[in-house]
């Protein structure tokens, strides 16, 4: 606190100032809390017909999504954490004979201009997806051979097929560009690049 503000007879300015702080900060705080987790009710989402009598039978997004780990963009859910931490356990197959393939292999992508390197984690993807969702139609099974560019991604190709449509949107640069070119660790993990050991197939 500065002496100037405590001086007696500072007059209206001081009052205006304290008023602004007293009102502004709590409102800001309340605003931030309120803005954390807003799911539009179905009847107001400009998509569902509010005159449909069955609309009341549908689940409201807030009811289900507010229970899951929070994230700002997209569905306001961190789906990777929701799955890893067991908040949800979506089925992997409908038919008993289907093969469930999970691969633990990170791919480092370095054609990034002045951005951080991209780490593509197979693990988190193959928990959700099958190999055939990406190989060979979207990506070749050989690191460095697919001509991925940011422009193509923004057009909805490569990573943009899912990111920006269903998976977390493209505004989250750092979640993909997660490795600083000059650091030894990557992301929040302390592991050094390249990871040691041969790629392993889980399950």
């Amino acid at each position: 606190m500065s002496k100037g503000l405590n001086r007696k007879g500072c007059g209206w300015r001081r009052r205006v100032y304290s008023f602004c702080v007293a009102v502004g900060l709590p409102v800001l705080f309340a605003g931030a809390v309120y803005a954390t987790g807003q799911w539009v009710p179905l009847a107001e989402d400009d998509l569902h017909d509010p005159d449909n009598p069955a609309i009341k039978l549908l689940q409201e997004p807030r009811e289900a999504l507010s229970e899951l780990p929070f994230d700002y963009p997209g569905n306001q859910v961190n789906w990777v954490r929701a799955l890893e931490e067991g908040f949800i356990n979506p089925r992997t197959n409908i038919y008993p004979g289907s093969e469930i393939r999970v691969l633990d292999l990170d791919i480092l992508m370095t054609r990034v201009g002045d951005q951080g390197y991209v780490i593509f984690p197979h693990k988190q993807h193959t928990e959700w997806l099958d190999c055939s969702n990406c190989h060979e139609e979207i990506f070749a099974s050989k690191a460095g051979t697919t001509p991925v560019t940011m422009m193509a991604i923004l057009e909805g190709r490569y990573c943009g097929r899912c990111h920006g449509a269903v998976s977390f949107p493209l505004s989250e640069c750092a979640r993909c560009h997660s490795k600083h070119p000059h650091s030894t660790g990557y992301g929040l993990a302390t592991q050094a690049w390249p990871p040691t050991g041969a790629p392993k197939m889980a399950e």
């Binding site: 500065s2 002496k3 100037g4 300015r13 100032y17 602004c20 702080v21 502004g24 900060l25 409102v27 800001l28 705080f29 309340a30 605003g31 931030a32 803005a35 807003q38 539009v40 107001e44 989402d45 400009d46 998509l47 569902h48 017909d49 449909n52 069955a54 609309i55 039978l57 549908l58 689940q59 999504l65 569905n75 859910v77 949800i88 979506p90 089925r91 992997t92 197959n93 409908i94 289907s98 928990e127 959700w128 997806l129 099958d130 969702n133 422009m151 991604i153 923004l154 057009e155 909805g156 190709r157 943009g160 097929r161 899912c162 920006g164 449509a165 269903v166 949107p169 493209l170 505004s171």
Partner: protein, 134 residues
Amino acid sequence: MLTNPEKKHLIASSVLFGILSVWLVLSSPVAAEYADVVLNKRAEKEGMRPVIFSHWFHRIRFRCKVCHSELAFKMRAGANEVTMADIIEGRFCGMCHNGEVAWSVENCDLCHSGKPGLESQIKGSHETGGPGIW
């Protein structure tokens, strides 16, 4: 000791703070849930409301690979030629909405729940405003 311009600055920024927070509260998005899909190639022409499929609801229960690999839904809004006859015969949505995995087709209004006039599309896609090729 704060000089006058500094105080003005403080006052101005706290007023801005206030305005910003009010704006934050009022600017609640009026938009469909991210990744909701509208299917309306035929429905409305045949007198039914457009169909709304929500990814958030289904991905809580099924991984992507169930629909996009096992059940072979193409990953592109509008790319699957879904008809009601197919569904009743157990293809597309009908692979689950058959009274076994999920409730069956007689609940028309649960699927046909969209506002009239919607086009087939995915909502909230490519939020960064890229050109979009679909």
